[in-house]
Amino acid sequence: MTPPPPPPAESVAAMIRPTPLLADSQTNRDVMAVFMGRPGLGWLLLLGLCAAGLVTGALTWILQIYLGLGIAGYSHPIFWGVYIVTFVFWVGIAHAGTLISAILLLFRAKWRNAINRSAEAMTIFAVFTAQLFLGIHVGRIWKAYFILPYPNQRALWVNFKSPLLWDTFAISTYTLISLIFLYVGLVPDLAIARDRTTGWRKVLYGTLALGWRGTSRQWKAHTRTVLHLSGLATPLVLSVHSVVSWDFAVAIVPGWHATIFAPYFVAGAIFSGFAMVLTVMIPVRRIFGLEHIITDYHFENMTRFLLLTSVIVGYAYGIEYFIAWYSGVEAEQTSFWLRAFGPYWISAWIMIIFNGVVPHIFWFKRARTHVPTIFVVATLINIGMWFERYVIIITGLSREYNPAVWGHYTPSTAELLIVIGSFSFFSTAFLLFLKLFPVIPISEVKELEIHARSHGHGAAADESEGQRLRRMQEAH
């Protein structure tokens, strides 16, 4: 056999030219269409609305820094209010991303692929929003750097015994690890985008892709990295909300001082995180026509999680009351009694009904597969979970040990504007992310695709992309 003559150099150059998009992988094209396409009117309106909310919130914050926290509704026994409520809420939301990415990865639940990117992005933005609230909450933000244990001219360190310092470490770690997690996952997709864009986007993606080429050595390291990061992130995700719960559990406030808080808060965080992913992804899927990638099957799986965590959270509500009664401590009993029947009874019942009762609708398959129902329930859970934190913080503080200093709290307009601003901040960030980065992890979806193709699960011609994916995911 005579070897064929080597092809001329020109032909190689032609061969490794960028593939025209038409000939590109279908997944690439689908996902890139989402973030490369011209922004629609809806997106622009939404962005404008969110930006307006963001600006209002930011101005209110500036005013608050200038005048003092007095413009918030705080009173003497209630030193923590809506800011900390919303902080805990966002930390809770931040849990879905890592949970979906890390824990489900460890459990090899491949159905996560379609949603993990958006969940991770949500995590990042939620953590950022949460961290904003730490700044909004403190009285002297211009001295907030005191909390960092850096060498300073005062020769002073910080108090590592304080749950707030644990918080600082846990949240910073969580932010960094989540960022790394998101970024590591993004790198191959950024390389895809780099190869298919021109102009400023090419510069942006090219820079961020770090020269990723998809060599087997890179992929191997990448897979291990993601796996190890998952291994680290799983205990981290559990620790972060445990630490946040210790802000309360370590204190001696009746209604806060409970050993159940860590698991209770973690379950609550997963619960609210999944609810938020659903609340966000249902409209996104519809707007961008991603039904073939994010399928009802994904939603159904998530409702199962909602059901599970709702049961845990509901159990925790019950057990809190039981322990309060069983402890025989009058202050504890009074606190819990007044939680349900005191001045804040509305909040308490919103919490119990929205979080503990409503999700039970997901015992029914029909509810699990009916997207509007899922959307409504998920939204109610978001509201319920915000009120859960409100109930814990406000009712706990308003009826403490000394009845001489019982008090009342009503959020002020300034507080509400800042809270709205925080939601706007989150939404703005997410909207921009949708238009800048691949919201679906392309490589991971493609991995399944190619596997299916080369292992003979070849697609029937009439089978839709979504059905195919779904089948593949179920096969895994």
Partner: protein, 167 residues
Amino acid sequence: MPTLVGVYDSPQHVAETVTRLRGRGFAKLEVYSPAPFDEVEEAVDPKPSKVRYFTLIGGLLGVVTGYALTIWMSLDWPIVIGGKPYAAIPAYTVIAFELTILFGGVFTLIGLLVIGRLPSVKLDPAYSARFSGDEFGIAVEVPERDVAEVDGLMRSHHAKEVGIVPA
């Protein structure tokens, strides 16, 4: 030495080709794939990735830093807080734990960068945007005299196209 680039559609074919090439002693090869595939990675380098050592070292460093930082800082200016000992190990465990994770994570990322030779400013000459589509590529450095043989080998293992990058 020139580099031959074969384009493939299926990871199995890539794996087979790589095994053959390595069997023939062409060790300086690079495989580009749009997604990770165990069989390909196995064929290129059967040894487990070294990222794990980065993670381990990072984690250990983190836990040590966590305790050292907290205990040292508490003792540098000892102040009684809430009647607790200066160095309150249970409280500091939280910090140590978080730093374990933090350092572990950061070191893992460093591991990825080091092992994956990232970041790199210039892409390989053999790299093509096709490989971030859904095609695979094998780039192998071969001496001038073996070009024809390798070309044939690739084509015989279902290479769609084979090109050459001159040295």
